[in-house]
């Protein structure tokens, strides 16, 4: 056994010195594998990073929050929209009712949104998302405030002209000057800035908080039509710490049905949405992207593999004489086989490694440019090296076998 290991090690040393001796050819033959590994692992890395981002975006919604909305969060081709479009929208009253009657909710909030023109002095921003929220929105959504404070309960109830603004909105309107206590105009009305939201960065779920402003819903009813589909009114309910979502949903179903006086036989005319539904949809999407990445990568790797096999055949041809000499001195077939196989594997691993290094630097560069963190995960490094290893074995085995079976007399004679 140890003798075998020793021989194996010697084969690798042999292979290595052959590669060093043919540097240029080595580099050229690596290229195919490098490109293959680069394309496959960069897709995986991209998808992983997107997925991580989506998960973190989704997690800002809260995994233990149920959203009562008209439309369910579903994906897929056979979305039965005709069943949903006549449903009533959730209302502020329903929110208050739930807040009063629910045993399992820790906080309940209402939210609707619209797009409005806002301005400060001569600076005008069009199409800014205005969120109209009720009490407890900060608890359900876990928003963080970098400057100032959240609305007080009294302010919310009274529907004061006050506003929280996203960090990008602040930058755009106030050009980085302090905005706290100043007024902005929303749809022509004056609102006092009481707080600035902490920078969130790019969000995978539509618009980032950075580009939004938040006003009390009791104020916003003056210019937002809560009966309009377009404002997407939503009641958000966060479960108490020990309550599983399903239990909360069961309770909410009961409450909603009784509030809306549905007969036992009729279907629910509301949807109880959860972030896990979103994740399911994204999982499917990422599965498809990953698959197509693997598919593209597979073909580039295939080309790379043929390149390696080709270079190995050339290498065997060129060293036929030496193979013959080695055999005449007592090298066994397996020694020659290992020697060429390890050469191919080494080549592929090296090619794969270079591909991974390229992915790494590309990810650093893109992270800089895109304002979105792309990370080459350890898992993907291992995947890349493993693929390289397999390609090395597959593309090396035939040339190596061919070399190992050479007839020593013929091999020595060739030159």
């Amino acid at each position: 056994m140890s003798l075998y290991l020793k021989l194996f090690f010697e084969s690798i040393v042999f292979a290595f010195s052959a590669l060093i001796a043919n540097k240029l050819r080595t580099i050229l033959s690596l290229l195919g594998i490098t490109i293959g590994i680069f394309s496959i692992i960069s897709v995986f890395t991209m998808v992983d990073s997107l997925e991580r981002k989506v998960r973190s975006s989704v997690s800002t919604l809260g995994s233990n929050v149920v959203f009562i909305q008209k439309w369910p969060w579903e994906f897929g081709g056979d979305y039965p929209w005709w069943k949903y479009w006549q449903r009533p929208l959730p209302s502020l009253d329903e929110m208050h009712e739930i807040e009063k009657r629910s045993e399992m909710a820790s906080s309940v909030s209402f939210m609707a949104s619209t797009k409005k023109v806002i301005s400060s002095g001569s600076i005008v921003l069009e199409n800014v998302s205005v969120l109209a929220v009720s009490n407890n929105y900060d608890k359900v959504k876990k928003i963080e405030i970098s400057k100032g404070r959240y609305f007080t309960e009294l302010e919310l109830k009274a529907g004061k002209n006050i506003v929280l603004i996203g960090s990008a909105v602040e930058e755009n309107l106030f050009l980085n000057a302090n905005s706290l206590g100043l007024d902005i105009k929303v749809f022509g009305r004056k609102y006092k800035v009481v707080g600035v939201l902490k920078r969130e960065g790019q969000s995978m779920l539509g618009e980032s908080m950075d580009d939004q402003i938040i006003v009390p819903v009791n104020n916003a009813i003056n210019f937002i039509d809560l009966k309009s589909e377009n404002t997407n009114p939503t009641v958000m309910i966060e479960a108490k710490a020990t309550i599983p979502n399903q239990q909360l949903k069961d309770e909410l179903t009961g409450l909603m049905r009784s509030m809306r006086k549905l007969k036992p036989a009729t279907e629910d005319n509301f949807s109880l949405n959860e972030t896990s539904l979103l994740l399911n949809g994204f999982d499917k999407l990422f599965g498809v992207i990953n698959l197509s990445g693997a598919f593209i990568g597979f073909f580039s790797i295939l080309v790379g593999g043929f390149g390696i096999a080709n270079i190995m055949f050339v290498s065997v041809k060129e060293r036929t004489n030496i193979i013959g000499i080695q055999k005449s001195l007592g090298a066994k077939n397996s020694f020659i086989l290992f020697q060429f196989l390890s050469e191919a594997v080494f080549l592929c691993l090296l090619g794969g490694f270079i591909g991974l290094v390229l992915v790494y630097f590309t990810s650093l560069l893109l992270s800089e440019i895109l304002d979105f963190e792309i990370i080459l995960a350890f898992k993907n490094i291992i995947t890349g090296l493993f693929i390289s290893l397999v390609i090395g074995l597959v593309s090396g085995i035939i040339p190596a076998y061919f070399a190992s079976r050479l007839n020593p007399v013929d091999a020595i004679r060739s030159n």
Partner: protein, 237 residues
């Protein structure tokens, strides 16, 4: 005494297209330990073919071949490789050194296949290189050595594993006559240490170093005689 090597009606045929070439028709030879045999014959008579079979590089089409009492004519590749490694020391006309390895590494090569560790390999290879008076050239690559030096490296490599037989196929064929004589003197020394040597040559004066001269013609043994001249010389000494 049992012969170290016994060939029994060995034949070797090659198929070239539809034609069959009988490189060896039927060769039977016995060679004892510490014999010094010269193999002669016209070009194409089958000398190299016979050497390759004796050296276990090739297997006969028919016939039996016993090496140290073992029937090697029907062995598999791996067993043959082991015999080549342990029992045979090959010296070629074209030296056949690995161009990128130093003299030392070339000599140590058979020890790698035998599974010796690095230190043993270096020690043993240096020792044999000293035997062929190349201690001052151990780290030279083949292209930094003269023809005679290369052949001495090759001889050191053949000796390194203490083989039963040294096979040399026209070892002086690529050397000038002065260097040839140095190489022959080296073979003489090796022979005196108790080795068995089989040497292919075209030159009568080279053949005169041997005890026994086997002449091949058209794949058959034409004559197999003791070298009277040499034996006479020895008895005088």
């Amino acid at each position: 005494m049992d012969p170290i090597l016994k060939l029994n009606a060995i034949s070797r045929h090659y198929k070239v297209g539809a034609e069959e070439i009988q490189a060896l028709k039927s060769v039977s030879i016995e060679i004892n330990k510490n014999e010094y045999v010269a193999l002669m014959g016209p070009s194409g008579s089958g000398k190299s073919t016979l050497m390759n079979i004796i050296g276990c590089l090739d297997t006969p089409t028919s016939g039996e071949y016993f090496l140290n009492g073992k029937d090697v004519s029907k062995m598999e590749d791996d067993d043959l490789a082991e015999i080549r490694n342990k029992e045979i020391g090959f010296v070629f006309q074209t030296f056949n050194l690995l161009p990128r390895l130093s003299a030392l590494d070339n000599v140590a090569l058979p020890l790698i296949y035998a599974g010796f560790n690095k230190q043993t390999r270096i020690d043993r290879a240096s020792e044999v290189l000293a035997q062929v008076s190349l201690s001052d050239r151990v780290h030279h690559k083949p292209n930094e050595l003269s023809g005679g030096q290369r052949q001495r490296v090759a001889i050191a490599r053949a000796l390194v594993n203490n083989p039963s037989i040294i096979l040399a196929d026209e070892p002086t064929g690529n050397l000038d006559s002065k260097t040839s004589h140095e190489i022959m003197a080296l073979f003489e020394e090796i022979y005196k240490k108790g080795n068995t040597i089989i040497l292919v040559t075209h030159e009568e004066d080279i053949a005169q170093h041997a005890h026994r001269i086997v002449r091949l013609k058209d794949g058959l043994v034409e004559s197999d005689t003791l070298n009277g001249q040499r034996i006479k010389k020895e008895s005088i000494v």
